[in-house]
Symmetry: C2
């Protein structure tokens, strides 16, 4: 029975991760014509740039349409509103990010390394896709407004994954069981996202890639020292 209880939570992090990596397909329009498929991608890329530059509220549909090379009313053939268009962007990319992590995570031997990888990958993904990152971290992540279930879930999955990994590490005895997983996850995620926000707004630290490792190392000291 004791074993049963712990089997319930065993590798729960993997379940959550797998679900997160595959969760973006529902509910989106799926064009039948190949021309249309390409246009939808063009639209999403144009929208990402405009939203990153102007912010969602100030971005004009006319600008997005011009940048995507289509008419304004055509945008509405793809997405029912400006907001839905904005939300689709992080939903797709987050799923892609989770999928990339899912590919690499199992090959690592312990939860500590997995956490390290997850946090490093998150910053690297933002560094490589700064427009997308501006949209996600500066506009969507914290926003109250977003009731839209799909975005909310895609964003929350980030937290769920970290909490589950911290828990799993405790379960495996990699660090103390006394560690509060929520508090720890809050510190890990908060620190990383704050670093990203600072970088996105001010390009500090100048070299994000270089600054990430010492940051993550210092963060994981908190866990290691939890005995």
């Amino acid at each position: 029975m004791l074993d049963g209880a712990s089997a319930d939570t065993k590798d729960q992090w993997l379940d959550i991760l797998q679900q997160a990596a595959s969760g973006y397909l529902e509910g989106a329009r799926d064009p039948k014509q190949s021309r249309s498929r390409r246009r939808q991608l063009d639209l999403l890329e144009a929208a990402t740039r405009v939203f990153a530059r102007e912010g969602i509220a100030k971005a004009k549909m006319a600008d997005i349409a011009a940048e995507a090379g289509m008419s304004v009313s055509s945008i509405y053939d793809y997405y029912p509103s400006k907001e839905d268009l904005a939300y689709e962007i992080p939903i797709r990319r987050l799923a892609q990010f989770y999928a990339e992590f899912l590919e690499q995570a199992p090959s690592l031997g312990n939860m500590r390394d997995r956490l390290h990888l997850f946090l490093s990958m998150a910053t690297d993904y933002a560094r490589r896709n700064p427009d997308w990152a501006r949209l996600l971290y500066l506009e969507i992540w914290p926003s109250v407004l977003i009731e839209e279930a799909r975005v909310r879930r895609a964003v929350d999955d980030f937290g769920r994954i970290v909490v589950a990994m911290v828990r799993e590490g405790s379960r495996r005895g990699e660090w103390s069981r006394k560690l509060d997983p929520y508090q720890t996850a809050t510190i890990l995620m908060g620190s990383i996202t704050h670093m990203l926000i600072t970088w996105l707004l001010y390009r500090r630290p100048e070299n994000l890639r270089k600054a990430t490792k010492p940051m993550v190392d210092q963060l994981l000291k908190l866990i290691d020292a939890s005995g």
Copy 2:
């Protein structure tokens, strides 16, 4: 000369703090009639509630006007735009928060306690003013859009104060000089703001007041262990 160099930075945190605590007055309209003064406060309170409820983008001037008991066009006699109205709220309150901290900080004996107090006060201030906190932490803090110098400065002062306090602690030998003050400040601020965001969105942790102390304690361990 060596003394001179260190005198330059001595108690810099206090300079920054004092400036932050008094910085909100410039640029705001200052009504001549007492009726108008009261109305302006009513307006700000009504706006805080509406913005917290709907978000800045979706909030309607008509709703704010109704809730403040004035006409829509009167709002424009106080602030030139919806955004300026929104920004005034965090500017005022942040200055008030800095002023409260300035009152209590000098009586403490060392930088560690001051940091502890600062972080605790920040969460407590948010807990006591949740509408204001929603506006600040969920809408304004991370937003790119905000070029407006006064908001930007009021928000950035938060970071400047933490960095300066970490530095001062190193200078006084309370912790290692090897500690990167920016990285440390990022962890401290990121963790606290992330905890606040989670609380504002989901009311987790349920008891924010209770959860703050262990959180801050764990964060300050990072500093203490930096030898």
